[in-house]
């Protein structure tokens, strides 16, 4: 598998195979460090892979390239998912993932832009990444820079009030060069239990149950696209559509429906995998489910 694909071979990249490999690295890294998150990184994996391998205009070996697209992982607790994809994309050696969460590592539990080149913001306290994205998109317009800014949030994260301050201000300034991608995985760390007979996309109540995120964002003046967050081509198409709107005065929100813990039979839709560490048996099972598929691509 190429780790630093050139744009001209981008279309030939097997995004699904890379995502399987990414998921495997997430499980392994968290098991190795003994701490970390699983559910969110796995739900976001297809989005992250599509972004880093097809959508973002980036130079992994030139992280301060002024024209680079900016990506901010506002749901910072999914850091290991981002690190796995950045490693696969060539930002740093895959072996460095073994340092995740350990002292002196560049790969902190939550993304630390002061340690790892390529991170555009430090995140972890939820709700804050979109504001930084607003500042970058606004600054880009003032500087006459044509890059696009993408910010990924969790659906549970939109419960943070600050998100809506940023949503409002982005619309006020007409930031067509800003796109928020919401990883709607339907679960948060603990949340609310399902009522008897109530259906959900996981084993707890959806963070947005009763909330019409699309309507809310549209009411603030955003353009909203809804996609399957596990369909690579659909993700790429939506992001391209969002970028094409950069000349307009409406920021874009991509609501990506995903499954928390996606890719492993025993983590999908299970809230307790938000921040669980795989046991040795579970890690072996994960290798079985993901590894075999990954190896056929190599």
């Amino acid at each position: 598998m190429p780790v630093t694909p050139r744009p001209d071979v981008a279309a030939e990249i097997d995004l699904e195979a890379i995502a399987r490999r990414g998921r495997q690295l997430v499980i392994e890294s968290v098991a190795h460090s003994g701490a970390g998150h699983i559910g969110g990184p796995l739900s976001a994996m297809d989005l992250l892979v599509a972004l880093y391998f097809r959508v973002l205009r980036i130079r992994p070996d030139e992280t301060d390239w002024p024209e680079r697209d900016r990506f901010i992982l506002s749901k910072g607790h999914s850091s290991i998912g981002l690190y796995a994809v950045m490693a696969l994309r060539g930002y740093f050696p895959i072996a460095e993932l073994a340092t995740f969460d350990s002292g002196d590592s560049r790969l902190q539990g939550h993304p630390d832009m002061t340690r790892l080149p390529g991170l555009e913001a430090s995140t972890g306290s939820l709700g804050q990444g979109l504001a930084v994205g607003v500042g970058i998109a606004l600054g880009a317009r003032m500087r006459g820079l044509g890059f696009h800014t993408f910010v990924m949030l969790g659906d549970g994260e939109t419960q943070e009030g600050m998100v809506w301050e940023s949503v409002m201000v982005a619309a006020k300034y007409g930031l067509g060069n800003l796109t928020a991608i919401v990883d709607c995985n339907g679960l948060q760390q603990y949340g609310w239990p399902l009522a008897p007979g109530e259906g959900g996309r996981g084993d707890r109540r959806d963070p947005l149950a009763g909330t019409h995120l699309r309507a809310a964002l549209e009411a603030f003046g955003w353009r909203v696209l809804e996609i399957d967050g596990h369909d690579p081509e659909g993700i790429v198409a939506a992001c391209d559509q969002a970028r094409d709107a950069a000349g307009t005065v409406r920021p874009t929100a991509i609501l990506a429906t995903t499954v928390k813990g996606r890719g492993l039979s025993f983590t999908e839709g299970r809230f307790e995998w938000h921040s669980r560490v795989a046991t040795a048996d579970e890690a072996a099972a994960a290798r079985q489910e993901l590894g075999a598929a990954g190896e056929t691509e190599a």
Binding site: S125, Q128, V132, G135, R143, E165, S166
Partner: protein, 314 residues
Amino acid sequence: MRDAWAETLIDLAGDNPDLLVLDADLGTSTRADRFAVAHPERFLQMGIAEQNMVGVAAGLATLGYVPWLSSFAVFLTHRAADQVRMLVAQTHANVKIGAAYSGLLTGFTGKTHQDVEDLAIMRAMPGMTVIAPGDATECSAAVRWATATSGPVYLRLARDAGPDLFDDSYRFEPGRVIRLREGSEVLIVSTGTQSARSLAAAEILGSQGISAGVVHVPCLKPVDAEAIAAAARGVRLVVTAEEHTILGGLGGLVAEILGEHEPRRLVRIGISDAWGESASNAFLLERHGLSPERVAERVALELARVDGIAGEAG
């Protein structure tokens, strides 16, 4: 002081195209409205949304801009504390926090708006430079220094104009402590606009035959701890005075320094673990013992107490 803040930024923006002012809808109070008139393209109204404003500033700073925030201190250090912490202090972002209406004297707004914990909060954040100017001249110099220096800066601004302490030759140096008055018996360590009142208190004490020195600490972080310890040597009593809680601000700072370098009796004058209220400036200064008369009274009392203890011991 707020006038000096705005006028200095207007002046600096002429030569510095990266300087921006972000306002959380209080520009008519903070005087950011004057900047908006002078440099409309570099004034960004962020609405009544301080948390987002801090994040936007952090984002702008990554593109080389130098954003100054305009709001009341309380909304920056309390409501947006988490944003200042993670997005500005932890990333060492080049964001400047213009914290207007700090302290007790906030124009009849009451305890909701009186930020008397800001210095303690901001001083606890690694990497944050914390400045509390004593007058308009020092404020202007601090704004110039902060704009030209990379990294996060918290600038504590007073609403009301006070007496001048410094002339135009003043230059701001981070960490420097400034001797305002010599005195052999007691040392008053003071910060912000309280320093003018502390100086007046020392004059009152002088008229009573008590020799009181005054040291002004315009920068609580970094700070020249050795200079404060040295100033404390030889006097019988050290007193801190601040328009701030006695917990964790200047009083806390001096207690830490003396405890480590120059152990001795210390009296902290300030808001004594209490909330403020809406009232006239005169009322508030009296109530919290910060008027020149009340500071002088307290210093004389505490000095007599120290001498009494020394007498008993002798």
